[in-house]
Amino acid sequence: MVNPIFILILSLAAGFLLSIFEKGGRKLSLTVFYGVLSFNVFVIAEWFYRIVFLSEPALIINTAGFTAPLSINLRLGLQESFVLLFTNFTGLMAAIYLFRKFIKSHISSLILYLILIMGINGLVMTRDLFNMFVFMEIVSISTYALTILTKTRDSLTAGFKYMIAGGTASIFFLLGVVFVYYFTGNLNLDFITQSDFSHFGLISLFLLAMAVFIELKPFPANGWALDVYQSVNSGITSVIAVVNSAGIFFVFYKISPLLPVHLLHILGIAGVITFFFSNLMGLKQTNAKRLLGYSSIGQIGLLVASLSFTIHYQTSLIYLIVGGFFVNHLIAKAGLFWLTGIVEKENLKDWGVLKNNKSLLILFGVLLFALSGLPPFPGFWAKWEFIKILTQTKMFWVVGTILLGSLFEIIFLFRWFTIAVKGDIDSNEKEIPFEFSKLFPIALFSGIILLISVAIMKSYYDFTLIQLLPIIAVLGVYLLDFIPSKIKGFLSLIVVGIYGYYLYPFESNLQLFFGIIFIVGSAINIIGTLNRKNLSQGFYGFLLMMIFSFGNLIIAKTYLEFFLAWEFMTISSFVLILRGNKAQMASLMYMIFSTAGAYLMMVGFSYAPALNSNSVLINSIANVQLPVLSIILLAIGFMIKSGSFGVHIWLPEAHAEAESDVSPFISAILLKAGVFGLLMIGISYIKNTPSFDVFYFVGWFGVITALVGAFLASFQEDAKRLLAYSSMSQVGYIVASIAILSHLGWLSAMYLSFNHMMFKSALFIAIAGVYYRTHTRTMYEMGGLIKKMPLSYITVLISIIAVSGVPPLSGFGAKWLIYSSFIEKGWYFQAGVLFFSSGVSFLYLYRLIHTIFLGQLKYEHQDIKEAPIWFIIPQYIFMAGIMAISMNPNLIIQPLNSIVGHYFQSAILIDGYNITSSLGNWNGNLVMMVTMGVFIVPLLFLKLYNGKTQKVEQFNIVYAAERPESPQTTHIAHNMYAHYRKALGGWGKPRIWNFWHEATEWSHSFGDFFRHIYTGNGQTYILHIILYIVVIYIILGV
């Protein structure tokens, strides 16, 4: 137990003595240097341990034998020890990171570094404003000097700008301090209260706050900081961005109780604006370190905002929110800055080199996901609670700005990530050299942030193991990644089986139904992945993560559990999509749209009233009256996931570019998560009808989605894209049926969901098999494969009949239910649109089967074989399901009838095989029998009456008395529905795509426009600072 004052003393002493030690060689001085840094960490760690776990009171250290206010006092409480532990530890790590640099550099850099750390320690602990100024200046001067550790012209310029900006800020701080003294006669924070200040005295606090605030780099008075981040050595940058920022933020935290609420709010809003604009400007940034700088500035803005808006809430919440943002941002940022130093690529485009270095890539991923505020990282929890507070206090503008800013951040961070995973690299690119001293801190920080995440989940939220399962899956499979992928696949199958068995005792049958779609459907689809030949590193981990999150979605008991599972689902599916060969753009779009949806849902859930039962969400939400705003936001969120019209553009890309055995998961199962969510809102909706009929519009969106999806599918050349749009269309039907809010409607929605899961899985797996053999997805490059891949053909045939709704297969049941429900409800025009889209669906279905399997076989496909057995097995499992339901629709209709019966009065009568609705009836079995009959009779007739039948080959066609030139010119497949496109005229333009494209362009242009205020001229930056203070002053209106 060492008095923390020794940190200061020892550091200072060592700092002075280092140049003497240097005489004994660099080894000795380095030993002393690292020894002191470690000592600091050790001392603080011990104090932290005592305060947190042994509940010791905060330590007050009086200096010079006097009590405060006459003397300066230091305080080491919970907050201080936490911040100090963090800063000292980061300082040590950064020093380790800089080890190679420190071996060679001048001894003064070691001294400066020690003094810097010492200054931070003092800054955090001191309770005296004057002392604070001194420490701040110590920190600043040592930082200025350290900026030129790597002496380049850029770092010199940046350092100079930094100095004049910092100097200006310190003038204001000095003025603030002296005014505080003038008005209160005191400089000790423990002895000053807000009431000590007259109205006029607020000016002193204002100056003080502004000086600190300027050091925290608010937009737009922060150009100097960006330059520093960009140009200075990564190790030092990490110290400036993390250690310094942490210290200065803590100063802000210390003086914040003094600040009047409205000033605090203005600063909070300034923080939000900073967050928004720096992320907006980050969009256009291509320099990795400067980008991190933008992100850093933004995050600090968010940190300030979170502190300003939550300061009056309970302490544990502040710890979670502010602490969460703090830890999350700083750890991630430190790690990322260090990474930039290792990769040494300035331009983001060149970051594809990471692809060859898996361990760096993983670290990069962890840190980036953390920085983006995705679960399980602390930033997620902080954001969730923060948004909740803001929403409940109806600060919607702030919420919107923060979330939009976060979205921009997601965009540039994930663009970076996708480049790192999938970007192009030079073939003569050198391997990234391995340096333990550089890698170690990053790895350690990644580990720490994961540990903190788990700690928050376990201790603050009390999550059970099952909620942690998605993370455990990823980490667990990562450890087992050396096993061949087939074994991993079988293991996954078993694990999913056990997981399903564990989940099985559901509270409601609705859960069971979705359990079957999610878990059983996934399990069957896993069989398709067994075809993988190589190690498939990381694949099964994220696959399991996705499946577990599906499961967790349906057993979620609170909004947070639901949302957590939702986010895990998004993350895992994003990674899975990104594994595709050309999936860079696709996965990015998926991530952006998913995140936008998730943010809307976050607000929606935050605004929803608290649940008051311990039942699963899907049950307990029935007792809650969701406000209209919540319903709208949640509905949009879910509809983004289900690919509704307007927000569908991610869908075809993601489905098409994902690996072909991943697509069935995305299309057949993932989209159902949105369906599940909509049903969940619906359950609340029917019990507590809101004043505004949101679902009427949802219904319209559903039918338009169905129509547009069908048209878009018809105009695709890419088989998987076609299937993707088909999914969009089908889910449109489902969404519209849910929106009907009637027994028949929900029956049809669930029936179609189940059916869609089966036939779309089968279709995607079949196409996966075709792709596996032909290596192309472009349909017109195939053709005539029926003779080569008959089993796949049969799957596709049965599936497209099921999709199209042609009797006697199960698809007709869906159509019958849907139209009956629409007409029953009185949604006549919607039904008309659905009829139209179901007519259009024939176009793409025929195109799919014809251009791939019928027509002319190409030369290069003359000796391909049937798809591998692992693709055939799942297909035929699904086929068996479709045929069973087709023969006996009661297999599914009856259970669904009872499930939906919980929510609505049953509207159908089941009598044997006959199902009667209020409008008509349908006897699936009889239809099947009659169809069999009318099929077999002509077949026998044909067999009997056809003369000698000669089987001929593909070129034995009449061809205007000529012979076909080549299969390519004889196969009608390219732009098959050109005439329809022509007929549609202006309606066929990709307006939605253009809209989002324009939105992207505009936001990038705005970002570019705003970042031009950073002219690079130091004087302009000073002007910004001064103007900023003046403007805030005017707004404050003191």
Partner: protein
Amino acid sequence: MNIWIKILYAIISISVATIYGLILGGFVRKIYARAHGRFGPPIWQPFLDIIQTHGRRVAISHGVMYYLGPVFRLGGGLGTYLFIPVIYGSVVFANFSMAGDLLLVMYFIFFGQLGMALGAGQGGHPYSPLGIARGLAQMSAFEVPFSLAVIAVAIQYQSLNITTIVAAQQGSILNWTLFTNPFAVIAAMISLLGMNMHSPFSIVLAPQEIPIGPPIEMNGSFLGILQTNRGLFAAAKLVLFMNLFFGGATNLLIMVIKTFFIYLVSVIVGASFPRFRPEQSFRFFLKWPTIIGIIGIIFVAYF
């Protein structure tokens, strides 16, 4: 009811419909010929053609789907017909209409078309998919006014059951949907023009552009089956329209008269107009008849 008797009735019903449909086809050719100032073939010419095609000694087949295509087609025709109650109150001609309602019939129409499209597709001839692409596109377009009309009928009678719809139209000629909901009937009749694929909507078979389109490779019995189906399917569609919009029929004679006049509409239009280009046809269906269909729905639902 004994299933065998049911099947026997079905066979009778189908035979009547097929013969009627084929004769109707012959009659139409006669009408066309007269419009051209010719004598034209005898009315029973379709039968001769069918016998002749079945009498071919050799037939070529491009594969399994090609073989099954016509089977699907005729199956579709048979099924469509079998799910429609042909004569109101008749046991023999009730067919298997208890298996489902109007929606079933509407979707069963696609059964044959899809199967035929697949068969033609395996034929490997470029004109087949061209014709099918036109056909499918046109179908999706004329389905719009037709489905709007069907919705209007469903609203009007609060039922999708064809027998119920027919029953509601009994009593007086003014009870026919034609008079109670003229807009829906107009929309449906225009889409019938498309379904029957006479000019100006004969873009699928268009012998001058894409020599006969989908069935270009069809020969021998394959073609014979298709021709048989053409008669049956025409009869089925006409009976459906008669049931939905023209009061149904209580005996065979009325059925023949009504369906003949319904068909005459297509024939007259067909004999008077040249062919549309495909995109003109799609646009046409998505414009005027659709608007009329919407008016039809508004008319029954909100007035």
